[in-house]
Symmetry: C2
Subunit: 521 residues, 2 copies
């Protein structure tokens, strides 16, 4: 550790101490008293089960409270009090507290910075499939997709899983499944837990219990080694190609395909020099590009070379990939032959193994929803957004980061989103994607009208400029967006979309990505 | 026409006149007398059937003689005399001539420059499939493959077809088929004609009769429009993918794939800036890349991206194509994304429509012959070459041009052949190709030992330097050819192969190719 690092380390430590101290000082002494000693009405001290600093008790299945979002903790106490979350111990405790006391306790524990709990001893072989990849054949997203990288938590609605014991996590999943815990946003956890077997619950709980709190884990090779064939539960899935089972072989070719997979799932990390936002390929191509209904990568691979009206010539698959970087990733196109493109192409080729070579392959692209009964409408879209989308993507489409700082939910508009040249800027495309896949894990539940309305709403906000911008919005629209399907250049709420776009490409304040050269095997 | 061109034109004209005149002057007056008047023993005048200047008589089915190779004409008279070629009129005539008279007549007609005969009136729709593409499912090469572009003839053994009447051509094909004409080199025409139906013979005869003598025809779109599915006559063919039927669609994509097909069949014309010899892609990938047994293009397409030991990294299909230009075509690699590569990739993609995406596809590459009983041997190889290969590829591997100047049979070594970096420089590769495909139309007829011997013989001659040449043959061999399979750097007949190679790439004296820009649609 060099002197500079040491200074930084001391500064951070001091800051934490101050932070806890000031929370104490400013906190309601009533909360401290209850937490440590209970109250005169028979409320036991929180610490008796949850530990002196809210660190939890793994053996008893009592959750860690320290550092959890205050809103989340308060909501839990309220749910325990009103029975939406049923618990024979905590129900009476929560009901014995007044509403202000619950809030004060929530604030108190949220401000605590308990030492990282010792992870549960890891089983010989952790089964990380559900945690990291989900099981999309049954429409189960990966846990980390909502709870953030490493289960570090996202915002106040997706609590951290890391730092909780296996017993506690398992108990909660069973509670969701049995309906003794309810009231989660959009019914997401009830839906997901309802599809989990006991073995699934054990696997997920063991996995997150074994994670070291806070520090992001990288996706290791073995994590996909035992991935099973996707369960072909849906009719669509059964009628279409199923990508190969199992891991990418560790061959000379496989190493490159595996790099492609990593780029696909984390382009900012593995291809940072070419991306200008925190989106990942998997954001639009779910299940690491495997999922039917979200423009699967294998279907795209067998469809190129192809003529594209977008640029009026025959594009190879590699040129098509360049477009993703330039528009959807709001970055710049890797040059043809760049290791990033070769790796992605190799990953796509691997995934398409055995597929028939044809642009007419079933499952290509997004399944188009029926035309809306009413013309898509901004106001109705805003209501759909608030109800079904803002939870993850934020009130202003800004997306959310996980508590450990990693990308979690993508920005849907604004300077950190895809730019005006991206395919998702087409309302029809966006409606198709939303209908089939959103909210995550609840694909197909929105009505066609809702999907069209919210797509129009999303595409009626500013985003980075189209890289093909000619200097005039009207001219750029005429040249590239002259279609009722594109909102670019249209006036919405008195504002001409595209007239106040930030320039395309990475923003200056963006964090430096891991260097290119270092990432290649 | 600029003054310079005019001068050249006049010079050529004068040369021709002089040539005919001197042939007359130096020719035996005996030949002239017989040709024009017959002789006292009852030999009729040649002109009575073959016309005053040997132009032939279409209605009677009497062939044109003027301008045919003297060796060929002499061989025919001898064959007619000895019965190898049976003809009730010409048999007695030929037998009535002495051997010197036959030779004199052959020289006489070879030197004549008869006016181009009027082509037979073209049927509404000429069927050019056999003439231009063959029927490889039955191992029938295109007629033009041996008789040269437009049937203009190649050397003295493959006579011109253009300028002959439909009746004469049809009569000869029937004669080959019935065995009343025999003695052709390697039995090629007997083999081919034996596979033709009456309709086939009519189609071929009509096609060549309709061609204007001399001037090369370009391959027009409609020529492939009615191409049938390859006949799956062989077991190998039946077990493998069969490329799509019919023409390439005239779509935005199809136009590019069609350009790729043209490049494939005539790279010097359509991608001249990137090639350094007169080879075509079809020389090694027969039937325009369709044929199982000669590394079909569709099988290659579904096999990439792939790791290649040749350059120690994963190659995309496009990079693989670059290698063909650099080595086999002894040219330079088109840059990635170049229209030439995109067109070739599109053609390959079109041809592979419906094939399963896998490097294990049946029919890929060349079927390997059994290991030879004896180590491959130069002297034995030389004998095989003289017997089975020199006919087309020339006594010194130099290849042959058609009489109209277009490329016909590729050079197998020497400065106009593929360079030392090409895959065919591997003896095993060459043996595999030869065994499966050579002589053209007689694939599989050489013994395994013969194939290995002649492959070693071919690869034991100088050719253009390996473009990766380090400045030292020993070092270049150690780096790229350190394998008993490569003759580069080995000493043969006291000469170190590679030590006297011309530099790789187009040779300065090469004719200028059609400009790149002008070729693109």
């Amino acid at each position: 550790m060099c002197p500079n690092d040491l200074t930084g380390f001391l500064a951070v430590t001091v800051a934490l101490v101050v932070s806890v101290a000031s929370a104490d000082a400013a906190g309601d002494s009533r909360a401290v008293a209850i937490a440590q000693h209970g109250d005169a009405h028979g409320t036991p001290s929180c610490a008796s089960c949850h530990g002196q600093v809210g660190e939890g008790n793994a053996a008893g299945g009592f959750p860690r409270l320290a550092g959890l979002p205050a809103t989340y903790l308060d909501a839990q106490l309220n749910a325990l009090a009103d029975g939406a979350r049923q618990n024979p111990v905590m129900g009476p405790v929560a009901r014995g507290l007044s509403a202000p006391e619950r809030l004060q306790l929530a604030d108190y524990y949220a401000a605590l910075h308990a030492p990282t709990s010792t992870p549960t001893a890891a089983p010989v072989q952790l089964d990380d499939r559900l945690a990291l990849h989900g099981r999309w054949g049954e429409e189960i997203p990966a846990c980390v997709q909502c709870h953030g990288e490493n289960g570090s938590g996202v915002g106040s609605r997706f609590p951290p899983l890391t730092g909780q014991s296996s017993l506690y996590i398992a108990n909660q999943l069973h509670a969701w499944k049995q309906g003794t815990r309810r009231g989660d946003p959009l019914g997401l956890m009830q839906t997901v837990a309802g599809k989990l077997s006991d073995a699934d619950i054990r696997a997920v709980s063991d996995y997150f219990a074994a994670q070291a709190g806070g520090s992001p884990s990288t996706v290791s090779r073995h994590e996909v080694e035992s991935r099973p064939a996707p369960t072909a539960s849906g009719m669509t899935q059964r009628l279409t190609f199923i990508p190969p089972e199992g891991p990418i072989p560790d061959s000379d070719f496989g190493k490159v395909a595996e790099l492609g997979r990593r780029i696909f799932e984390d382009p900012a990390k593995y291809a940072g020099q070419y991306v200008g936002n925190d989106l990942t390929c998997s954001n639009c191509h779910l299940d690491a590009g495997r999922r039917v209904g979200s423009a699967p990568l294998w279907a795209a691979y067998v469809s190129y070379p192809a003529y594209r009206a977008k640029n009026h010539h025959v594009n190879t698959f590699e040129e098509r990939l360049q477009g993703c970087f330039r528009y959807s990733m709001n970055g710049r196109s890797p040059p043809l032959g760049d290791p990033v493109l070769v790796a992605l192409e190799s990953y796509a080729y691997w995934m398409a193994q055995g597929a028939p070579l044809t642009p007419n392959i079933a499952g290509r692209g997004y399944p188009k929803p029926a035309a809306p009964a009413l013309p898509p409408d901004y106001q109705r879209g805003a209501r759909v957004y608030a109800k079904s989308c803002a939870l993850c993507h934020g009130d202003n489409g800004e997306g959310q980061r996980a508590n450990n700082g990693s990308a979690a939910f993508p920005a849907l508009w604004g300077p950190d989103s895809f730019n005006w040249g991206a395919g998702m800027g087409s309302v029809a495309n966006a409606a198709a994607f939303v209908k089939a896949n959103m909210p995550l894990g609840l694909g197909g539940t929105l009505s066609d009208q809702d999907a069209w309305d919210v797509a129009l709403y999303m595409d009626s906000h500013e985003r980075p400029q189209d890289p093909r911008y000619t200097g005039s919005v009207a001219e750029t629209r005429a040249k590239f967006h002259d279609d009722s399907d594109w909102m670019y250049g249209m006036t919405v709420n008195g504002h001409v979309l595209g007239s106040d776009s930030v320039p395309p490409g990475p923003r200056p304040r963006r964090k430096t990505s891991t260097s290119h050269e270092a990432m290649y095997p």
